[in-house]
């Protein structure tokens, strides 16, 4: 791609908006800052950015309201939420409403750039696949073959239970995106599967982690978003 990718920053704090803009420019993106929700929406229409960074605490509009307006548009762009750590419910709602990922204040530049890269890659993948689903996913030395119902780790097959495989499959299809507990529960166990508790999912996940010999302090395949959900890494 010759053209620079455009990122819209909807953030009311000038200082944060400034350093994000600088960091993005330094990493060869085009940054468009917007100080209010309304300005953000109008800049979205005029510039058609490839990605949106959205602070949920804006002075003029509810961040979730902006998110739902962006989601209703034919031109989709991945959205990364900027939120405070102690607002779990807000983040979960944003993710369930279609946000791709989130960063927590205070966040670091490298962390933010990694999330942006991941979301952009995912968007590219979706565009290329044109809705055709892949059957084989490769994450580092982990191969997930959906048609053969097989998971290989460094060439060696690992046996998972039905539900464990379904969870891995779901995470792989959405690799790079944070999936909330409720989202996963509903897709694997049906709308009433969790019955108010996500224990069944968490225990399955702990087993998956043990079979993959994955240490949560050094995630290679599945990243835990504490209190929110899980995300399969895509690089």
């Amino acid at each position: 791609m010759n053209e620079k990718q455009t990122i819209l920053i909807i953030e009311d704090d000038k200082a944060i908006s400034n350093f994000i803009s600088r960091a993005l420019t330094a990493s060869d993106y085009r940054a468009i800052p917007a100080g209010t929700g309304r300005e953000g929406l109008s800049l979205f229409f005029s510039h058609g950015p490839d990605l949106v960074l959205l602070d949920l605490g804006l002075p003029d509009m509810d961040g979730l309201e902006i998110l739902s307006q962006l989601r209703g548009l034919p031109r989709e762009a991945p959205v990364i939420i900027i939120s405070a750590r102690d607002r779990e419910a807000e983040k979960v709602r944003a993710l369930d409403m279609g946000a791709d990922d989130y960063v927590v204040k205070p966040f670091g530049v490298s962390e933010l750039l990694a999330r942006i890269r991941s979301a952009l890659r995912r968007a590219d993948r979706l565009k290329l696949s044109q809705g055709i689903q892949r059957t084989v996913y490769q994450i580092k030395d982990l191969t997930i073959d959906l048609s053969k119902h097989q998971v290989l780790l460094g060439g060696e097959e690992i046996h998972f239970t039905q539900n464990e495989f379904k969870i891995i499959e779901l995470l792989a299809i959405h690799a790079g995106k944070v999936l909330t507990y409720d989202f996963i529960l509903e897709h694997i166990w049906g709308p009433y599967g969790g019955s108010g508790s996500n224990q069944i999912l968490r225990v399955n996940m702990a087993n998956i982690r043990r079979k993959l010999k994955e240490n949560p302090s050094e995630p290679k395949y599945i990243h835990t978003e504490l209190g929110i959900g899980y995300r399969m890494l895509d690089d």
């Binding site: 200082a15 350093f19 205070p106 670091g108 949560p216 302090s217 835990t224």
Partner: protein
């Protein structure tokens, strides 16, 4: 004078009520009937056949029914009185007779009048006691109402206070985190920039480090303010301990990229109720403490295991160990000594750990490993979260 009688009546009433009801009522009945008999006896010597004994007995019956409980004694007294009059105070004396005209009517009317009086006094009495009871009840209700109102006001005040505290905390945390994020972020952008001279890079690094310490400090202060006075409940939720530990380690590693920390997991799954953000804070503090104060940041190990009904987290280093002051402070559960270079920065962090674990009903210990290094341990109750 009137007061004196009233007091006397009260005294008699109180003394009288010490005697059980049946003997007391019988005594009163007997006493007044005797009095009426005597009075009529005296009167009859003066007035002869034209006697007023019926009125005297009616008076006695009225007094009896006033002073005894229920209808029974009054009616019994009126019948006895009628018989008495007939036998003793009407011709023929000393014998029962209904032979004279008017006698049956007189007797019946006397019994009827006495019964009516008796019924009326009983009703008046009942109404009086009812009124007293109602007054007492109304008073009790009023007092209770007052008390409830006071309680309601207190609760309202308290919940308003909590709400205000919550919103202040939220505002403060937002207002502190946002500029700190901006400072730390801006500095990291500058550090990547080619236009900064090496001399300035060192200064920028200092700013970045201090901003990052401030961020941790603010998180600690916010946590401790939230739990300190116990007005705000913990936001407890079932959480996988290894995921909290993983998150804490990743956060610590982002701040101190050069140090080595191992995470040892248990075979079984530790899934227990906790405020995961606060427990994460405890882990981050212990790790940071080991990295910054132990003098050896390359052999730090965090271990999770189950011991009886506790999920235990252990942070171990191979550094210079803890000073007796710190050990003593942890053991006694007192606040850390915050002054002195030996505990610089360590005091606040460890105090926060202690109060968070205490709020969870867990234990927090510190010791020196005989083979070198410090060991911090904390355990959280698993509370029947069986797996």
């Amino acid at each position: 004078m009137f007061r004196y009688f009233q007091d006397l009546y009260h005294w008699v009433d109180i003394q009288g009520h010490r005697i059980p009801a049946v003997p007391r009522n019988l005594g009163i009945t007997a006493l007044f009937l005797c009095a009426a008999y005597c009075a009529s006896g005296i009167l009859i010597t003066h007035t002869g056949g034209e006697n007023n004994s019926a009125l005297v007995f009616v008076l006695a019956v009225a007094l009896i029914s006033l002073l005894t409980s229920g209808y029974f004694y009054g009616i019994a007294a009126s019948i006895i009185g009628a018989l008495c009059i007939n036998v003793y105070f009407m011709e023929p004396y000393e014998a029962f007779s209904l032979s004279r005209t008017g006698y049956p009517v007189a007797m019946l009317s006397m019994v009827a009048i006495s019964c009516v009086i008796c019924a009326l006094t009983a009703r008046v009495k009942k109404q009086a006691t009812e009124a007293v009871r109602r007054e007492k009840k109304a008073k009790a209700l009023y007092e209770q109402n007052e008390k409830l109102n006071a309680e309601k006001a207190a609760i309202q005040l308290e919940s308003e206070r909590v709400a205000i505290r919550e919103s202040i905390l939220r505002a403060v945390s937002h207002d502190l985190r946002t500029p700190l994020t901006a400072i730390s972020g801006t500095v990291s952008v500058l550090l990547e920039s080619p236009e900064v001279s090496p001399k300035n890079v060192a200064m920028l690094n200092d700013i970045k480090q201090d901003a990052d310490s401030l961020i941790i400090m603010v998180e600690n202060l916010l946590s401790v303010t939230r739990i300190q006075d116990g007005t705000m409940p913990l936001k407890k939720r079932e959480e996988m301990l290894e995921e909290v530990a993983g998150d804490a380690l990743l956060t610590t590693r982002r701040r101190f990229p050069d140090c080595r920390v191992d995470l040892e997991l248990p075979e079984d799954i530790l899934y227990l109720p906790m405020d995961s953000l606060l427990v994460r804070q405890v882990m981050i503090n212990l790790l940071e403490n080991a990295i910054r104060h132990s003098g050896d940041s390359s052999h730090i190990c965090m271990r999770l295991y189950r011991r009886e009904d506790r999920a235990v987290v252990e942070v171990r280093d191979r550094g210079r160990g803890l000073s007796p002051e710190v050990l003593q402070a942890v053991r006694s559960g007192e606040a850390m000594p915050l002054n002195g270079d030996a505990t610089r920065g360590m005091g606040i962090g460890l105090s926060v750990c202690q109060s968070i674990i205490k709020a969870h009903g867990g234990f927090f210990t510190a010791e020196n490993d005989p083979s070198g290094g410090a060991v911090f341990r904390f355990g959280l109750p698993t509370e029947g979260a069986q797996l």
